[in-house]
């Protein structure tokens, strides 16, 4: 907001100082734009490098050339099968899940103006978990049915939160607090189911709740891609309004916005993104929570940082999956969600310990 303050003060300045102030302003604006560009570049390059490595590494190591050839459709038999049928779906699922969680977290945290308000804290993930665990342990279901149950559980929580928090409008606090209350109920349901089942079955449920990409196949990727193809443009559409909303309800109102409606729309988008990703891969821990704070810390200019948050999500999920697959003992087959939490957590702590925070 500094530029505005300076601009208001300008008329009282002498021409010479006016000129100096304007130059300073331009310079700082240029510096911010440069930082934005370099952060974006670094994130894209990082995500690209991780993706290529994900396609190259494995029991049958491939060169970058072989990977490229397989992707271009060169008929090379086994290489093509490994890349297109085995590694690519998993990579794409990871990318889509990273984007969805990164965006969902960023939307929630900014629109509810609480850095703790990510879908894994305000009940969406827990609702999905309760649905999936019930399907696994009570229904003995697997595969797409579990995803469906997770989707149902998460959306049910979303709708319930609207019903509770909406009272001629919606305030962030009410929504967040209701969400946490619901999260505890869902956690209790999960706890109940876990203690009343065979311990081996409980372990299966636990694995689902950690979040994993191992179940990736093309049909799953297609469904999630379709969902994101609808949701992401909508996010881009509301992003500008959300930016205005952050000025405060009164300001936004005077600019012709209806704060309650915008807020409700943004939250609905966040719920949809989180539910879709959770249904596909389970509630991959901490991605939604950490993506936006990291992105904002990297930019350090107090803007919304939606694209950057999505990229941070991708880097985290794809990187964590690489780590889990190739750097940890294979017989453990650690789910990706365990690694995202174990890497994302300390990284956020380190960020907090080594520098100042701006806007959470």
């Amino acid at each position: 907001m500094t530029p505005q303050v300076l601009a208001d003060g300008l008329p009282t300045l002498t021409p010479a100082r006016h000129e100096a102030a304007a130059t300073g302003l331009r310079r700082s604006r240029r510096r911010r734009r440069a930082r934005r560009a370099s952060v974006l570049t670094v994130l894209v390059v990082l995500a690209g490098a991780l993706s290529v490595s994900a396609l190259m590494m494995g029991q049958f190591p491939l060169t970058a050339g072989q990977v490229l050839g397989a992707l271009m459709g060169a008929d090379e038999g086994s290489a093509r099968f490994i890349v297109v049928e085995l590694r690519l779906p998993r990579l794409l699922l990871g990318i889509l899940v990273g984007v969805a969680f990164g965006l969902a977290g960023a939307l929630f945290q900014s629109v509810l103006s609480n850095p703790l308000a990510s879908p894994d804290i305000i009940g969406i993930s827990q609702g999905a978990s309760a649905g999936a665990v019930a399907a696994l342990l009570l229904g003995g279901l697997s595969g797409a049915a579990v995803s469906g149950a997770a989707l149902a559980g998460g959306s049910l929580v979303g709708v319930l939160l609207y019903a509770v928090a909406w009272r001629g409008g919606m305030t962030g606090h009410r929504f967040v607090l209701s969400g946490i209350g619901v999260a505890y109920v869902c956690a209790a349901v999960v706890g109940y189911l876990l203690t009343r089942s065979e311990v081996q079955q409980a372990q299966v449920a636990l694995r689902w709740m950690a979040g994993s990409l191992a179940q990736a196949e093309w049909s799953l990727v297609q469904v999630l891609a379709l969902a994101l193809a609808v949701l992401v443009p909508l996010v881009a559409l509301v992003a500008r309004r959300l930016d205005l909303l952050l000025l405060g309800d009164d300001q936004a109102g005077s600019l012709g916005l209806r704060p309650e409606l915008v807020r409700a729309g943004v939250v609905a988008l966040g719920v949809a993104l989180a539910c879709a990703a959770t249904a596909a891969a389970g509630p991959v821990a901490f991605v939604a929570f950490v993506a936006a704070p990291v992105a904002r810390r990297l930019l350090a200019d107090g803007t919304l940082a939606l694209a950057e948050a999505a990229l941070v999500g991708v880097v985290l999920v794809v990187g964590a999956d690489l780590f889990a697959q190739h750097l940890l003992p294979a017989d453990l087959s650690v789910p990706v969600g365990v690694v995202t939490g174990a890497i994302g957590g300390p990284y956020l702590i380190w960020l907090m310990a080594t520098g100042g925070t701006r806007r959470g």
Binding site: P115, Y184, V185, L206, V338, I349
Partner: protein, 355 residues
């Protein structure tokens, strides 16, 4: 907004003088009295009802003049009394810890699960179960305490290192980050160790059953110190609620005050978690309920939370014993299922929350 601020400011500054708002004191006394009655009811219910009901007269006889070999007396003395006392102390500790957390982080969604304290304690207990083969509650005790303390040191230390020092946002974020890390490590152990999962899943839902009395006597001193610190911290929390700068302006030593509060949280959470398991919901809901009853003055919130916590936890425990007789549901499950609708109702009605 400005009017609430002003009231809060008057209360914070006038704390050392005579009671600033006459109405608040008499209302406070009334609320405390009502809660004491409720607590007495909850304690009685916890002694009377269960898999087998014991008449009030028999309970009294068992307490003052036990007959050896009498089954009812045995149930009351060996099972119900320890369980009730654990609920009383654990509930008070959890409720007050929650109030302190919400005050020190200035975040209404803070609870003892948040600063990483519960998950630190849980991780330590799991290490005890999986790595060292500890299986008894008495054995978990010190691990839970150590885990809670380590978590607090790491979280507070990391939050204090950056150039702005400890801020509520940083505390909350670092706490959540620590929780995620600990949860991931817990999941790794549970996925690779079936036996540990079998023990841990029962511990982590949280229950008052089968806690021997010596667990209680071991943690009691810690809880007492924690409660005393909490009572003393009321004024600090009132000042912190206005923001660090205002608090400093009012002559509060913000850093020392915050450290004091965190120390109290560790003592209370460590004790409660080691006794009853990580039941975080009590710590979330109780302070909100207290705020509805008594307003925004933390000196009163702490007192009211100390009474409301055990009422909630004991009530949940009794309900858990009655719903599936002769079996029972753990208090940790019931407290969320019964408490959440109440919380939602408060959230929906209260203007203070909406602000």
């Amino acid at each position: 907004m400005s009017s609430t601020l002003r009231t809060r400011a008057t209360r914070a500054t006038g704390a050392s003088g005579p009671a600033p708002v006459g109405g608040a004191t008499s209302r406070g006394a009334l609320v405390v009295l009502a809660l004491l009655v409720l607590l007495a009811l909850a304690l009685t219910a916890s002694l009377v009802w269960g898999a087998r009901d014991v008449s009030l007269a028999q309970v009294w006889a068992a307490l003052v003049d036990p007959v050896a070999g009498d089954n009812d007396h045995l149930v009351v003395r060996d099972l119900r009394v320890p369980r009730t006392l654990v609920g009383l102390v654990g509930g008070a500790a959890l409720g007050v810890a929650g109030a302190l957390m919400q005050g020190v982080t200035r975040n209404p969604i803070a609870d003892p699960g948040l600063l990483g304290i519960n998950s630190g304690a849980s991780l330590a207990v799991l290490v005890a179960i999986s790595g060292l083969g500890v299986t008894s509650v008495t054995g978990y005790l010190w691990f839970a305490f150590a885990g809670a303390a380590i978590a607090a040191v790491v979280v507070y230390g990391a939050a204090a290192l950056g150039w702005e020092g400890v801020t509520p946002v940083k505390l909350a974020l670092v706490g959540a980050a620590f929780t995620a890390t600990a949860t991931s490590l817990i999941t790794v152990v549970l996925l690779s160790d079936t036996q540990a999962l079998d023990d841990y899943r029962f511990w982590q839902v949280g229950s008052l059953a089968n806690r021997p009395l010596d667990v209680l006597t071991t943690v009691l001193p810690f809880v007492v110190v924690g409660l005393v610190l909490a009572l003393a911290a009321g004024r600090v929390l009132n000042a912190l609620a206005l923001g660090d700068d205002v608090a400093r302006g009012l002559g509060q030593d913000v850093t020392r005050g915050r450290l004091l509060v965190v120390l109290a949280v560790v003592l209370l959470c460590g004790s409660a978690v080691s006794m009853v398991g990580p039941i975080a919901f009590v710590g979330l809901a109780v302070p909100h309920l207290a705020r509805v009853l008594i307003g925004l003055d933390y000196r009163w919130i702490v007192v009211v939370s100390a009474l409301l916590g055990p009422v909630l936890l004991l009530a949940a425990d009794v309900v858990g014993r009655l719903v599936v007789r002769p079996g029972e549901l753990e208090a940790g499950l019931i407290v969320a299922v019964v408490g959440a609708p109440v919380l939602l109702l408060i959230v929906r009605r209260s203007r203070a929350v909406a602000a």
